[in-house]
Symmetry: C2
């Protein structure tokens, strides 16, 4: 039921070795021969057996994408960028989600990777996660997205800068009492989380503004979390006049909280996010956008280079992509 390379070889009157070479476009094959083999392979409707090829060559032709979430905007958008590059390169994309707070019991990723892929792309798994370490210890080509780690290639934005831009925007508008909605203060804060926190503090301190501990809240990067966080900020005796949310989705939640308090972003309180989420324009949210698709693309390309280079690159290419501020209606000059 399956045409094999031998059938093709026989039909073409050459050896399997020649068929293999011809079909893979290797050099040292007579063009006449190559053409004939290709034609016959096509006629026979022959497709190479990946398993056999992998076993013999040692290469798997596939890349694993490890992500804590599949359905969240940032993650699915990164994945789409990755996919386009891998598809062009003829590589298989193995999608693997790893433990996240919501998940039941999940397999640890590292064992599922060994002997199975040529390289790994990891999306925004906090460096504190032991699972990340296990993956990296596999020693195979790896690129990180949205987090950086000493000695591992990564593609990120400058999170400190992104937070600086956002905070500076609020400061420039004359706000002095500025709140912040971060990810998680306690368990496994991501690099992004910490860096954005830092950028915020830097600008606040440069502006001579105090960071009121009461105006620091966490929203776990979810809409619901952002809503709760904003609610807690609004129930302070001394409300902030502006809030920096570390992600657009948290900002969306914050907007809802505002609305249920009879307030409107922009008019009653300035709100800025980070991401450039599809919906941010719709919701008129000012945001520091990151090139999310490009993050995925770039990481995939970096990874492919590592894989084809055959060795884990000596010079670790960690690059940061630029962000861009989109000023919309959710931020406005401080009144009085």
């Amino acid at each position: 039921m399956g045409i094999t390379i031998r059938d093709v070889a026989q039909a073409a009157g050459v050896s399997t070795a020649t068929v293999s070479r011809a079909l893979r476009g290797l050099p040292n094959v007579d063009e006449q021969t190559r053409l004939r083999v290709q034609r016959i392979a096509g006629d026979l409707d022959y497709v190479i057996s990946p398993s056999a090829s992998r076993l013999a060559s040692g290469r798997t032709g596939s890349v694993a994408v490890i992500t804590p979430y599949i359905a969240r905007w940032f993650f699915s958008t990164v994945i789409s960028g990755i996919e386009s590059v891998l598809q062009s390169a003829g590589m298989d994309l193995l999608l693997m989600s790893v433990s996240n707070p919501d998940a039941q019991l999940r397999q640890p990723p590292a064992p599922r990777l060994r002997r199975r892929v040529d390289g790994v792309l990891v999306i925004a798994v906090p460096p504190s996660e032991p699972e990340l370490g296990e993956v990296i210890d596999l020693g195979m080509p790896t690129s990180l997205i949205g987090v950086s780690l000493e000695g591992v290639p990564s593609v990120t934005i400058d999170d400190v800068l992104a937070a600086r831009i956002a905070t500076q925007h609020l400061v420039d508008l004359g706000h002095r009492r500025i709140g912040i909605i971060g990810g998680s203060a306690t368990n496994s804060p991501s690099t992004a989380d910490q860096d954005r926190q830092r950028g915020f503090r830097e600008v606040m301190s440069e502006a001579g503004l105090e960071v009121d501990p009461h105006l620091e809240s966490t929203g776990h990067f979810t809409v619901a979390g952002g809503e709760q966080a904003m609610t807690s900020l609004l129930t302070q005796r001394n409300r902030p006049t502006a809030v920096f949310a570390m992600s657009d989705e948290m900002a969306f939640g914050a907007m809802r909280s505002l609305r249920s308090h009879g307030l409107v972003a922009g008019a009653d309180l300035s709100l800025i996010g980070v991401d450039g989420h599809d919906m941010s324009e719709l919701l008129d949210l000012t945001t520091v956008a990151q090139p999310v698709v490009e993050l995925g693309r770039m990481a995939a390309e970096t990874l492919l280079e590592q894989i084809t280079a055959g060795t884990v690159a000596a010079a670790v290419p960690s690059c940061q992509l630029p962000t861009r501020l989109f000023v919309r209606g959710s931020t406005a000059a401080a009144t009085g």
Copy 2:
């Protein structure tokens, strides 16, 4: 550099056959032996070579997910449902996007599937797409999600009913001049598209209402498309008092159009969507929600059954999951 089954066999003092059996949990292995082999395999840090196993057994242990979009809410949410099932089953998930209007040149999926996966899951590819036919003609276990096709297992909602529920809701509120925002009138309308159209017409006719051709627009299931569609509806001399959008994302776009026209959904015009998108609650959009994660889960389970059954099921299990109306602020009783 790689521990093989032989190393384990040697260390355990048994044959490779026994190691293979013991490690895969096959019967007819002495429990003592199995335990010893497992322990030694663990000690040696042995992992089976998938390529070798696949080549020898003929099974690939992987499933392809074919989708036109990765980053759109419906699709990524379905994928997350699929992933959870496949991961539990120890199956690899190969993610493959297929041609969509935005895409550059993409490989046709069918050739990339052969000899590579044990089964295929297809998300919402219109039956009119030749690529779908090619995939199905491969004759391997397949399940469709969001579309149905004679003779192929599928998991969907009752799209006619969903549209009926939505339209009936508007009718019940007293609206008589009701517009519709669909997908694409011309090229490759999806099943969902056509069925929702039908449900809409049914209820309209049952209510003795006329479907004004001027109040039919298309939004290509995107936010931007929905915005344009609503704008075209609003520029009619005789505006609708209510609009049924076939997807929440189009409804979101419609909301923006309303806003830019100084109108508010609920107050000035009633708007209802379909999906139960994460953001619909935030945007206070009335919607007919579908169990999207469950769609993916169910399809994956159906597929796994086909695969383990060894044969393409004689009885094709096509199931429809229930939808649920969420009434929110975007719909209100017709005035006057």
